[in-house]
């Protein structure tokens, strides 16, 4: 099994690789559909994801300047309305004026392509760049876990690598980058991660190490995770003979699916069939 020449590494696929190499192989290399239930209860989970999707869209509409009252009218239930009001009342402030919303960035790093879709990048030219990620998961994960997530390491690193694309005349140091997670579950306590040269170097090495491990497994095989409890929240459990019933959604750390789109980020042609 070879890594396809057009393969892009994203926080989603790398996080999957970290959690289970076999899942990475099945999902991203073999692209094997396996339509089992991931976690229960299903319909509530689906509604939660849908709410998250609409919330992200409302934030996007707000960021591009649509009238607040018209956006808010879309909040179709109390939960969503609550999120929206929390956002209006306690979104991270102040943010620089120049905003990039739902923005995809990609860059090669040691010959591998990395890609990420940012909820919001706010830029003060020559001064700072702030990444904001809106999290709609039911619980706010502890900071220690967040700091270990691939997203926390990949996003600032990629933004720094791509910073020349915003204005070729300005160069940014990692110290000018900050990443903020804002939680609907705890709107008053966003988590902020300041970036640094040292961290950027560590992240660059770490990401490279990860993809080299992936390369290594393509030469040998992708092992099943040794932490079997993960399998209860993985659709492939019957394929791997790792159980029958799906686990509970409460055990999931990150319930958002929006980044799944990353792997088809180039395929931006949404069209109704005609």
């Amino acid at each position: 099994m070879k890594l396809p020449p057009d393969f892009s590494f994203s926080q989603n696929n790398l996080q999957d690789f970290l959690e289970c190499p076999r899942r990475f192989e099945l999902r991203y290399l073999l692209r094997q559909p396996w339509p089992a239930i991931q976690s229960q209860p299903v319909v509530e989970h689906e509604q939660h994801l849908r709410r998250g999707e609409i919330f992200h869209q409302m934030v996007q509409q707000h960021q591009i300047g649509l009238p607040v009252d018209k956006i808010g009218a879309q909040a179709y239930d109390q939960t969503l309305l609550g999120w929206w009001e929390d956002y209006l009342g306690s979104m991270p402030q102040p943010l620089p004026e120049h905003r990039l919303v739902e923005h995809t960035l990609q860059s090669a790093h040691s010959g591998y392509r990395f890609i990420a879709k940012f909820d919001l990048i706010a830029i003060q030219p020559g001064e700072k760049m702030i990444i904001v990620d809106w999290k709609t998961s039911r619980r706010k994960p502890p900071r220690a876990i967040l700091s270990q997530r691939i997203q926390t390491r990949l996003y600032p690193f990629l933004l720094w690598k791509c910073s020349g694309a915003f204005d070729q005349a300005i160069s940014y140091s990692p110290e000018q980058i900050e990443m903020i997670y804002w939680f609907t579950a705890d709107p008053l306590s966003p988590e902020r991660f300041k970036y640094s040269q040292k961290q950027a170097e560590r992240d660059g090495e770490y990401l490279l190490e990860l993809v080299q491990q992936v390369e290594h497994h393509t030469q040998t095989y992708f092992p099943l995770t040794s932490q079997e409890q993960r399998c209860s929240l993985c659709v492939y459990r019957s394929l791997c003979n790792r159980g029958i019933t799906a686990g509970n959604i409460d055990d999931e750390i990150d319930e958002e699916v929006d980044d799944d789109r990353l792997d088809i980020a180039f395929d931006q042609i949404g069209e109704t069939e005609f």
Binding site: Q32, P33, A36, Q61, L105, S107, A108, A165, F274
Partner: protein, 712 residues
């Protein structure tokens, strides 16, 4: 010719291509040329040049009339190193409409007249639009509408939707459709009322959509054109977002797209518009090469590429002679001896004989002349399932890989999906759709590993409750010991687990959404070790597709569900499948690339790939010339180029058929790099003799050649 752009992994470029690619960053170019003259390669080179010049990728818009035409751009972006930064946007007008509607919905929904402006829009797919059209039309049918029209219901719905799409893409009010069609009608006067009836249905459908936030393709386009594109906010957003445009195959796009680009062009810093001079194949989908050509007026410069780089002179001569023969203007001067090297005639008396000849010739090419199978295409105006099957199986006998370019295939032809449906019927006795014994037997064979037909039969004989009970599967333990041994205890155990799972579900008394039911059933039973789906990865893939199709259906069904308490989406879905309203078409997994392509001629042309050898099947078929019979719509009357009020005469019909045959001949020959085999059969697939215009033209050409041979 050198290639100075380090970013590009493109073939060596001609000076014309380089010139177009490296035009200044404030220049708008209208690039035209024949198919195969290297225009798209110039488009790719332009993209590379823009990126290399430091243009932020997110400022580049690549617009195409349909998704498949995006492939070269998509491949380029995924397979080449790009400068760090964002990505260009590749989109169709439909895609752009959908995205902007989603983003700006709260700003326009009330003004556009939607009854529930605060609720999100529901985007319909072709299938779900067809579903809603069927719901809207049903009461009209009950009133006797379309009684005199012998037409499959689903074709009726699709023609109504097609009309709405045309009105949106061409730019006239959907309320004028019936009148336009009536004014042009030249046949039986009693047909005229059908256009009024069609108009009533289309109006009712649009009203229903407006009342329920349902956006079919036509409404998406209309919203974009009439509201979003007119909104300062949206224009400003699009204008600040995109600065450079590459718009390829503009001749295959509709006037609505041309209008938007015509207005937008002055704002772009640079643009490359690519026009295929012989195109316009998507006329049935509203393509308008004439309005595309008018975009040249908005450009700084018109560049014309020299003739086709692909099609050799002999094939070109053949093209020109055959076109002349279609026009009945073929003269001896058109025919020089080398033309004979461009084509061969494969005559047969019967259809199977023609198929045999084609496959035998392909065998010679592949096994004796070492031609790569991917360099061969077998083409016909329509590709019936039986023709496709006989070609595929004959080629398989010759051990030649083949792939069929059929647009899609129905999920419901897949045994795995039929198995799922049988299980759904068993698990929902209140639907009163009991599966037949045969369906249950096939399901058991498919589901339970090691259960062959004989054992499944045994299980059916012994385990099937004969009486009309709501649940027809008897417990395994009730079967006599002898029978259980023959069935085997391991198969019996699996049977029992499946049975128990179904019974548990029924006892639970609450109907799950059908997609959720399938996902549970798949994960907890069917894909577990010992069951049929465990090792069959393709079955898992089709199951995933069917679940996705049901989920999409469920997500837009709220307007109907909310009106009917106790409404079962699953049952409705299966009913619609049964009636053919939903066919859940899907693209089968990609087949081997180095394979002979079997494809309808139009699809081959639209996909814009060239091959060395082409086989044109059944040249006598009228399908090469005639358009499809569509009693409720008309691709030429519903067009900007049609003068309202004119009658569509037989002369018009003849002329457009002639033109479309000429277009096919050109489209195919431009994509042929070596040789064409014209295959004829005296008796066609249905056992009749057919002498269509392509055959007559070809015979004319052969006669002339023969005369010439005699004279010399």
């Amino acid at each position: 010719m050198i290639n100075p752009l380090p970013l590009m992994n493109l073939p060596k470029l001609s000076s014309e291509q380089l010139q177009a690619a490296q035009a200044p960053l404030n220049r708008k170019i209208f690039l035209q040329g024949e198919p195969g003259s290297g225009k798209t390669t110039a488009g790719l080179a332009r993209l590379a040049f823009l990126l290399e010049s430091g243009i932020p990728a997110e400022q580049i818009l690549i617009l195409l009339p349909q998704r498949t035409l995006a492939k070269p751009y998509y491949d380029y972006l995924t397979q080449n190193p790009l400068p760090p930064g964002s990505l260009p946007t590749i989109v169709t007008l439909g895609g752009l409409s959908q995205r902007t509607i989603q983003l700006f919905w709260p700003a326009i929904s009330a003004e556009a007249g939607f009854a529930r402006p605060h609720q999100p829009p529901l985007f319909l797919t072709l299938e779900t639009a067809q579903y809603y059209m069927s719901k809207v039309v049903e009461p009209f049918l009950n009133q006797g509408y379309f009684e005199q029209l012998v037409i499959d219901r689903n074709r009726l719905y699709s023609q109504l939707l097609d009309n709405l799409n045309k009105a949106a893409l061409i730019g006239f009010a959907h309320t004028t459709l019936g009148e336009r069609l009536k004014q042009a009608w030249n046949g039986q006067p009693q047909h005229l009322i059908l256009f009024d009836q069609a108009q009533d249905c289309m109006n009712a459908f649009r009203e229903y959509c407006m009342a329920n936030n349902l956006l079919d393709f036509s409404l998406q386009i209309e919203l974009f054109i009439h509201y979003l594109w007119r909104s300062f906010l949206v224009r400003n957003y699009l204008h600040t977002h995109f600065h450079h445009l590459i718009y390829d195959n503009i001749e295959e796009d509709a006037p609505a797209a041309h209008d938007v680009i015509g207005e937008w062009l002055p704002v772009f810093d640079s643009a490359l518009l690519i026009y295929d001079q012989q195109g316009g194949y998507r006329v049935f989908l509203g393509a308008d090469p004439q309005s595309a050509a008018s975009l040249a007026d908005f450009c700084d410069e018109i560049v014309e590429f020299p003739p086709n780089l692909i099609c050799p002179p002999t094939v070109r001569q053949f093209q020109s002679a055959l076109v002349k023969a279609v026009q009945r203007q073929l003269t001896h001067e058109e025919l020089t001896p080398p033309i004979k090297t461009a084509f061969s005639h494969l005559p047969a008396r019967f259809y199977p004989e023609m198929v045999d000849q084609v496959c035998k010739t392909i065998d010679e090419l592949v096994h004796q002349k070492q031609v790569a199978p991917s360099e061969i295409a077998v083409l016909a105006p329509f590709m019936s399932d039986s023709l496709r099957f006989s070609l595929m199986s004959r080629l398989e006998e010759y051990q030649i890989p083949a792939r069929s370019h059929r647009p899609s295939r129905s999920l419901y032809d897949e045994p795995a999906v039929r198995t799922l449906i049988t299980l759904a019927k068993l698990a929902h006795p209140h639907w009163e759709m009991p599966p037949s014994r045969e369906e249950i037997r096939s399901m058991l064979v498919h589901c339970i590993e090691d259960l062959d037909l004989v054992r499944a039969d045994l299980l059916m004989q012994m385990g099937f409750t004969a009486k009309k009970q709501s649940f027809p599967l008897r417990p395994f333990e009730e079967i006599g010991e002898d029978g259980r041994e023959r069935i085997t205890y391991s198969a019996g155990l699996r049977y029992s687990r499946l049975r128990e799972w179904l019974l548990n579900y029924i006892e639970q008394g609450e109907e799950e959404e059908l997609d959720v039911f399938f996902a549970f059933l798949f994960g907890e039973v069917l894909s577990q070790p010992g069951y049929g789906f465990h090792d069959h990865l393709d079955d898992a893939a089709v199951t995933a597709r069917v679940i996705e199709s049901i989920k999409k259906f469920r997500q837009v069904i709220e307007p109907v569900r909310s009106q009917q308490p106790g409404f079962s989406v699953g049952m409705e879905y299966l009913n619609m499948v049964g009636q053919g309203v939903i066919s859940a078409l899907y693209l089968p997994p990609s087949e081997e690339e180095d394979a002979v392509l079997i494809s309808p001629a139009y699809s081959f042309i639209i996909n814009n790939r060239s091959v060395r050898f082409q086989f044109w099947l059944d040249c006598g078929n009228y399908g090469w010339w005639e358009r499809l019979f569509q009693p409720l719509t008309h691709p030429y009357v519903l067009s900007r180029n049609w003068q309202p009020g004119r009658l569509w005469t037989d002369a018009d019909e003849y002329e457009t058929n002639q033109q479309s045959l000429i277009r096919i001949i050109r489209g195919l020959t431009y994509r042929c790099r070596e040789h064409i085999f014209l295959c004829t059969s005296r008796i066609n697939e249905r056992g009749a003799e057919e002498r269509g215009a392509l055959l007559l033209a070809f015979q004319g050409l052969l006669r002339r050649l023969h005369q010439q041979g005699g004279e010399s």
